[in-house]
Symmetry: C2
Amino acid sequence: MTTERRMPRQADIARIAGVSQAAVSVVLGGKQTIRMAEETRARILEVAEELGYVPHPVAKRLAHSRSNLLGLYTFRTAFPTNEADIYHPILSGVEAEAASLGQDLILFTGTSGPEARQETAIRRTRMADGCLFFGRQVPEAPVARLVETGFPLVYIGRRPELGGRIPYIGADYVTASAQVLERLLSLGHRNIRYVREPDEAPSSEDRLLGVLQAAPSTQVVRLDGPDLSADAVRSWLADGVTALVVEGTDTGTAYRAVRAAVDAAGLSVPGDLSLAVLGGPPGVSGFEVPMQEMGRHAVRLLIELITDKATTPQQLLWCPPVAGREVGPPRSTE
Amino acid sequence: MTTERRMPRQADIARIAGVSQAAVSVVLGGKQTIRMAEETRARILEVAEELGYVPHPVAKRLAHSRSNLLGLYTFRTAFPTNEADIYHPILSGVEAEAASLGQDLILFTGTSGPEARQETAIRRTRMADGCLFFGRQVPEAPVARLVETGFPLVYIGRRPELGGRIPYIGADYVTASAQVLERLLSLGHRNIRYVREPDEAPSSEDRLLGVLQAAPSTQVVRLDGPDLSADAVRSWLADGVTALVVEGTDTGTAYRAVRAAVDAAGLSVPGDLSLAVLGGPPGVSGFEVPMQEMGRHAVRLLIELITDKATTPQQLLWCPPVAGREVGPPRSTE
DNA sequence: TCAAGATGCTAATACGCATTAGTCGCCGCT
DNA sequence: AGCGGCGACTAATGCGTATTAGCATCTTGA
């Protein structure tokens, strides 16, 4: 036996309190710019309380164009069944920051499907005040449309596309990578090998840049699959290599491959060989990608864009170095 | 140099195509009840495509239609930093089903904060076409309001509150628990002890009901903290107990406590003692709570409620039994 | 030839709120 | 007396869509 009565609206309050709907809006909206007799204000508040008035969020949004909703476009599922979820910390940061700023989040589904579905999902993006985009993909046409119409969006991860007009929060891989190499150099390593993932991406280029900047003589090897043979590692060692630096990514495949090969070759780390990862699992020598912080900053930047207060729409965050146990002085080759 | 053009609306399409806004709405809305010349319809669609028209979801929703947005109210953070996240599989199911039904999700933030904030968050719930609620908490007043005004909502987990008017998707703990006990009985166990969590909840009562239904002579013990002593377990064994059944919950504290105590007592499982959990970690003897399925069903039920097609607004799902390695025949006490 | 019905569309309005541009009465001042 | 100004409010409008009632115009059939 549902009562099925309507929710009270401002008009109801107005009728009972004997004022206009506008008066109700003014009082409940807490506007100080408009004067209202203390008595009337009190009466309105009283009636509102009595009726259990709750502003209708949709109407509110339609009227003043802010919904306090931020979009989340993940290009994949936001709650993957897969345990090792690299985005999780970012999302966690996003949620925390959004909560503290009073913003709710819209999760767009169908972002991982075929291109046609993806595109309709990108359109739906507009129902939020602005949208966060995750990951490496940039569907140029639809994203360009968003950017051009001034729709606030922030990518997580550096994006040079569209002539550099895409706002983003990235990590400063160049500096962080350079620092890792500098540390190796200062420990005495002179023959260092850098192992890249097969994949290309700005974050990948940035790491390489940092590596070569700090240690131009570094030899670069590109993995062509998810595996690396123990023999390959042995031959590097024979060439005098004393340290391996591995690209770290979402999937961490390169690190796993290298680690497996090194173990298979029966080498001790860092006794026989130092090993560093550029943005790897927590605790491993190299540096850490500040995931949570990226999420938080992305939300802050997005809000700035929404409120037209953005100062720097493209920011790179500092990655804290990790000493770890995988790096040590080179084995004396004498 | 942003173009800063407004998003096109129906009125823009109407002007260009030389028809009324209503005509545009009719055509784009796919209404068959209203006749429209094939030519006009084509023209409108063409213009819409050209302008890249996207319906304004908020306006759509205000105008008594659907926005294809489902709310998610978690009473805690949706992306906890904590690794062991019991809700994750549910959320994963929700997301998958929502995606396949073309629904996006709104994550309400601030749902774990102080009561006042929680209440404003519950209000915001109306932004969506309907909302999923997670967990044990039922803030009676605001939820009653939602239910009474006919706002579609579905709880995940059985909820007897509000005179049983809350729609939910739960798990059939009674049957599942009874089956576990029946198995123990059929293996020959006669002296069984049931270990409950300190906490009370419908799901907790259900399990107890099932236990006593299948094996009325079962002794019930209630934990009063997160720990259990090895001595307690030893004394049970001395009393002739051959099997322990443990309540399983979100946190899994009871199971961990019992497992620790049994190990500390130096007992082998199931050699000395059989051990079963009512809804525990995957693979452990007892039964499994179909998390993913609950998520999926909840979404389906919510959609049914939204479209007024709900047949059974309260459903309990079957929990698959898990044989596992922790249950065996009782030790011959001769 | 004219009523009845079909066809193709539009005008008007609702949804619930925020906001802007007033309106109205009254007081103080010259 | 007349004017400015202020305090306290309201009327009107917009936000972008969906829906309903209804209006021309065109076919038909008798």
